[in-house]
């Protein structure tokens, strides 16, 4: 699987990831430092000496170019600086901790997305132009027409309020977080809300590519050999039908990352998305810059993984 060429390709991509991370954080860094005001200036320090002291502490009194070099140097050491609002909170460990939480929810969402999406898509394709197909395709249009906060509020309403006795309020979350977050039943609802719109897109794609594959000769051959429908669909057709579906995985990861900003705020999940919204509204620009750098790395890495997945799922593709 790994030839010399593909190793070279991976190397190139890794360099590109590093470059993207630096480029994204630089743009955000320079853009944000042009903004008037920051979290410190909002506090109206009466004493100019204290104010100067504070600015000096965060290197905000240095010229922008020098600040920038300090920042980039920090990025290469994995150090994203300190929070402007909560002093002495180091950003890198904070984000890593929150990333674990987000990864749990996002992982659940991806499992939902791919699971529901592929199952719906295959069923719709196999029963093309029957009521099953119409229900599945209409559901998927409804699915990606509903903003995830609408899905979330409906789930909230049903599981949190109407079915309270049944769920026992498991979808209410404590804000005090002890370090290990989330039991399985707590993750299910936000994971579903996060993944459902994308599940609809996956279902659509799966259906379309399944319909194409089902008509091919080798599938007919498999049928002619006397294999059961189930084996033909799962082993022969689905395998090739999934190749176009893999293309959606890159955008899917981006969608989950951005969607988590909304979902984590609704459910009060202490992850990266909640931190993003909070820090933007609090003007904690150090965290905003750090988060963007972090996101850039995650997304670039996810795209690389998807590319590699391609070669695994479709051996005809070589880099």
């Amino acid at each position: 699987m790994f030839t010399r060429g593909s190793l070279l390709y991976i190397g190139q991509r890794l360099i590109l990831i590093l470059f993207t991370a630096v480029a994204v954080s630089s743009i955000v860094f320079l853009g944000i430092h042009r903004l008037p005001g920051n979290a410190l200036l909002n506090e109206r320090h009466p004493d100019p000496a204290a104010q100067a002291e504070l600015l000096h502490y965060y290197h905000l009194d240095l010229p922008l170019a020098q600040q920038y070099f300090l920042f980039v140097g920090g990025v290469f050491h994995g150090d994203l600086g300190e929070s402007l609002v909560n002093r002495s909170v180091q950003i890198t460990p904070l984000l890593l901790r929150e990333a674990r939480v987000s990864a749990e929810v996002g992982g659940a969402a991806i499992v939902f997305t791919i699971g529901i999406g592929i199952v719906l898509g295959v069923i719709a394709a196999v029963r093309q132009n029957t009521w099953v197909d119409y229900v599945a395709t209409t559901t998927s249009v409804i699915g990606y027409s509903m903003p995830n906060f609408v899905v979330a509020s409906l789930l909230f309403l049903f599981f949190g309020i109407y079915f309270y006795k049944w769920t026992g309020g498991t979808i209410y979350y404590n804000s005090g977080w002890t370090g290990s977050w989330g039991t399985l039943d707590q993750i299910v609802v936000p994971g579903f809300a996060l993944g459902f719109p994308y599940a609809s897109i996956v279902a659509r794609l799966t259906r379309a590519s399944m319909l194409e594959v089902i008509r091919q000769d080798y599938v007919r051959t498999a049928r002619a050999k006397g294999l059961t429908d189930r084996i033909v669909i799962i082993r022969h057709a689905l395998r090739n039908a999934l190749i176009p579906v893999v293309t959606i995985l890159g955008p899917l990861v981006i969608g989950i990352v951005t969607g988590s900003v909304v979902i984590e705020n609704i459910f009060g999940i202490p992850g990266l998305g909640k931190e993003f919204a909070t820090s933007i509204l609090q003007r904690d620009y150090n965290i905003v810059i750090g988060l963007f750098t972090f996101y850039a790395i995650i997304i670039a890495a996810a795209n690389l993984l998807v590319d590699l997945l391609y070669t695994v799922i479709d051996p005809r593709i070589r880099y």
Partner: protein, 300 residues
Amino acid sequence: MATAPGLVTPEAYVDTLAREQSSLWGDAWRRLRRNRLALASTVFLTFVILVAIVAQFWLPYSYFAEGIAPIYQGPTAQHLLGVDDLGRDILSRIMLGSQVSLKVGIGTQVIVIAVGVVVGLIAGFYRGVVDTIISTIINIFYGIPDLLVALVLVLLLGRSLGIIIFAIAFTQWMTMARLVRGQTLALREREFVEAARAGGAKANKIIFRHILPNALGPMIVQATIGVPMAILFEAFLSFLGLGVPPPTPSWGAMAADGFHALRISPHIVLAPAIALSLTLMAFNFLGDGLRDALDPRQKR
């Protein structure tokens, strides 16, 4: 009609005549009319547009007057959709909110089409180095988290309708550009373009008279699908508190405002949420219908 082959009855003759005369657009229109979901969506969207126009001149109640009924009150005869957490009439706010959604949806697509057409045509028509550079830029834009970039743009440039439209267009133009580029690449090799070039037509004329009109179908479909995406974006921004500044009502912000009271008065969230979902759904169904109508070969 069961007739022997070769024998043309008068009716069939008329039928063939009629069919020969139908243009691409007439054909597409006929197919679209047969699609019930698309037709229902068109009717619904016409209704939304009418509401937006009416809201400009008349509202049942003022959209910003607070405390005109007990706060959190559910639907009553006076206030059909109830009132919100500040005692404002929700129906009036939803009516006015449709303006924001439509402006964002359509305004964004106007920018996206303008930028996408120019960039796509240049890349597709001139190819070579220009194309490589443009394609690389497009790929870089695809790799960025669109919502987050739009958020930061709004943060950097300020909260106003124009800037929100610009920020959303900034994260969405690539799809249109790539589409136009692909269409141009395919069309410029076709015989009629060859013929035009042989006839001495200049590049300008070939692009605007021959290539662009033929790429129009997929572009319309793409723009129709782009509208709900833009509306969704605005709703996200509003929901996170970075949308159109209050008191101008936006559906996303209205849903966000009611979220803390979901238990006692779900109607505050549900009314804008349903309005938003129905509108998005209608645009998506219409987009699907248009795709099937304009390109029957690509029937999914």
